[in-house]
């Protein structure tokens, strides 16, 4: 069994002693996994990250990171973690100097800094703007610099609080791939996002957080099974009346419909439906031109989980 590097138990937090922004949160993160915190704006993701990175202390509950208690061993924890904040954070000097200052703060010597800077300028496509002042960079460039800077030092856990906000599609995919590469080398990632496709691409396990509570934690596949709802099977069929075919299929009327020239079926067992439709189409001398089984997406899961939690169907 993989070792837990983060253990959160009954975490509660309030900023004003009136309203709790986190309510009894408990979860674990295993070594070498990408753990996603998924939730709407204001759900409590950033507060959770601030507590895990020891920026603020929780009002109640216990948090253990790499075997250390956040209330007693903040310094030890911080020496082994990295954080990319949601808000922009830059120094008002050149791109290269930003990286250099960060490396210096982490205690890297000049030679190590130089090597690392060259590597990161290349990976994050910052080479052409290395001498540019950070104040003159576009939002996306600043974001790239902010992320690149965090990789100046080695760490065991990296906290990424909505890191891809402001990045273009190519850079976003580059970053996600770079993160995947680091995870293969043993880095643990805690990743918050409201961009579902990113979580789907990157995360091993996902915690859905809403109104300060963890609604569910599981692997993506298990979440899809639990909350994904029915899958959609679409057919495009020639030489047959779709309304007649619809009546001949043994499917609940609410789960089958015709949209333009397509027959759409919602089902828990898509392969049985495909078999049934093929049989009927053959029987009535029709021809299937095209079919598509749409997998359950994280979006389906998210909407179902959040919907259930808020009484929305």
């Amino acid at each position: 069994m993989q070792q837990n590097v983060i253990e959160v138990k009954n975490l509660r937090h309030t900023y004003d002693n009136k309203k709790y922004v986190l309510e009894n949160i408990s979860f674990e993160v295993r070594k070498g996994e990408v753990f996603g915190l998924l939730g709407r704006n204001g759900a409590g993701k950033t507060t959770t990250i601030k507590i895990l990175t020891t920026l603020i202390l929780p009002t109640y509950g216990s948090v253990n990171i790499l075997g250390y208690d956040i209330k007693k061993d903040g310094l030890k924890i911080r020496s082994r973690i990295g954080l990319v904040q949601q808000l922009p954070s830059i120094e008002f000097t050149t791109v290269e100097k930003n990286l250099d200052i960060y490396g210096m703060l982490w205690g890297l010597n000049k030679k190590m800094r130089k090597e690392k800077i060259e590597e990161l300028l290349e990976i994050f496509d910052l080479k052409n703007i290395r001498k540019k002042d950070a104040i003159d960079l576009s939002g996306g460039e600043r974001r790239r610099l902010q992320i690149a800077r965090e990789f100046m030092h080695d760490m065991d856990i990296l906290f990424l609080d909505e890191p891809t906000v402001g990045l273009d599609v190519v850079m976003r995919r580059n970053l996600l791939n770079y993160i995947k590469k680091l995870v293969n080398k043993g880095l643990t990632i805690v990743f918050t996002t409201h961009m579902l496709e990113e979580a789907e691409y990157l995360c091993d396990r996902i915690a859905v957080i809403d109104n300060g509570k963890i609604v569910t934690v599981d692997t993506l596949n298990n979440l899809k099974i639990k909350y994904g709802g029915k899958r959609t099977v679409e057919f495009k069929i020639k030489n047959i009346n779709l309304n007649e075919l619809k009546n001949k299929l043994n499917v609940n009327n609410d789960d089958i419909k015709i949209v333009e020239d397509r027959l759409i079926v919602l089902t828990e067992n898509p392969y049985d439906i495909v078999e049934m439709v093929i049989d009927k189409v053959k029987q009535y001398n029709g021809k299937i031109m095209w079919l598509n089984i749409r997998d359950k997406t994280l979006e389906d899961v998210f909407l179902n989980v959040i919907g259930e939690e808020n009484g929305i169907s």
Binding site: Y15, L55, E91
Partner: protein
């Protein structure tokens, strides 16, 4: 081997904040006061048959003292800047304590004050012919400027911790610079003043910093200077303590 943590923070503060604007305020302003006022008031004194050099000799150590106030304001500004641009949270997520960060800010103001004073001394050397410094005089001046910048650095950090908007902070800071500067013996001696003004002068730490600096500069060190240094050190330590407390109390609200 890596530098100690506070040194790394000081280096960072110097790298990030050493732009021409910083140096213009740090050195340019006192240098302008020194040159314009020395010659300007000097011409007035010439009309009375006095040399401008006498006033320049009075004003130069006053400007060195004023420099500690200017350098001190950098600590509050750096705190505000780091908050505004996310660097504060980023640094606090690294292996630094809050105290490391605050000490880094306060000690950076000391370094700024030392560098600014060094440049100002060179200007003074050329402006006032025949001036002679003694080792003990220089030591007293260096000690005073360190204590002065610690004192004002901490004071501005307290201000920066409590004031919630950057515009308000800038306004209060400018007001304080004017008040502390002009209600002190930086530009003129505290003689023949109305009682109320006299009290203001004597509760103002810049008055003592300027007086001790002047005695070191003119090699006229007295036993009172030692007492002033002890009192200023005690006040600085108290303000450093209050600055840390104020920062800790304000932290949650800002981050």
């Amino acid at each position: 081997m890596a530098y100690p943590k506070v040194i790394r923070l000081i280096l960072r503060n110097l790298m990030v904040n050493s732009d021409p604007g910083t140096w213009l305020i740090l050195v340019g302003m006192p240098a302008m006061f020194l040159v314009f006022f020395s010659y300007g008031y000097g011409s007035m004194f010439s009309a009375l048959g006095l040399s401008y050099i006498n006033y320049a000799k009075f004003l130069a150590p006053g400007m060195l003292a004023y420099e500690t106030l200017i350098a001190g304001t950098f600590s509050g500004s750096m705190l505000w800047f780091d908050r505004r641009w996310g660097s504060l949270a980023q640094i606090l997520a690294m292996p630094f304590t809050r105290t490391d960060y605050l000490l880094g800010l306060i000690l950076s103001t000391v370094v700024f004050a030392i560098m600014g004073n060094a440049i100002l001394l060179v200007i003074t050397y050329f402006l006032i012919p025949g001036i002679n410094f003694t080792v003990i005089g220089i030591l007293i001046m260096v000690l005073t400027l360190i204590i002065g910048s610690l004192l004002f650095g901490s004071l501005m950090l307290i201000l920066g911790s409590y004031i919630k908007s950057q515009n308000a902070y800038n306004s209060v800071q400018i007001l304080m610079i004017f008040f502390i500067n002009f209600a002190s013996t930086v530009f003129y001696p505290a003689i023949s003043l109305p009682k109320l003004l006299l009290y203001l002068f004597y509760v103002n730490p810049l008055t003592y910093i300027a007086n001790v600096m002047r005695d070191g500069f003119l090699n006229n060190i007295k036993i009172n200077d030692l007492y002033y240094i002890i009192i200023l050190t005690a006040v600085s330590l108290l303000l450093i303590y209050i600055a840390r407390k104020s920062y800790m109390r304000s932290e949650i609200k800002f981050e």
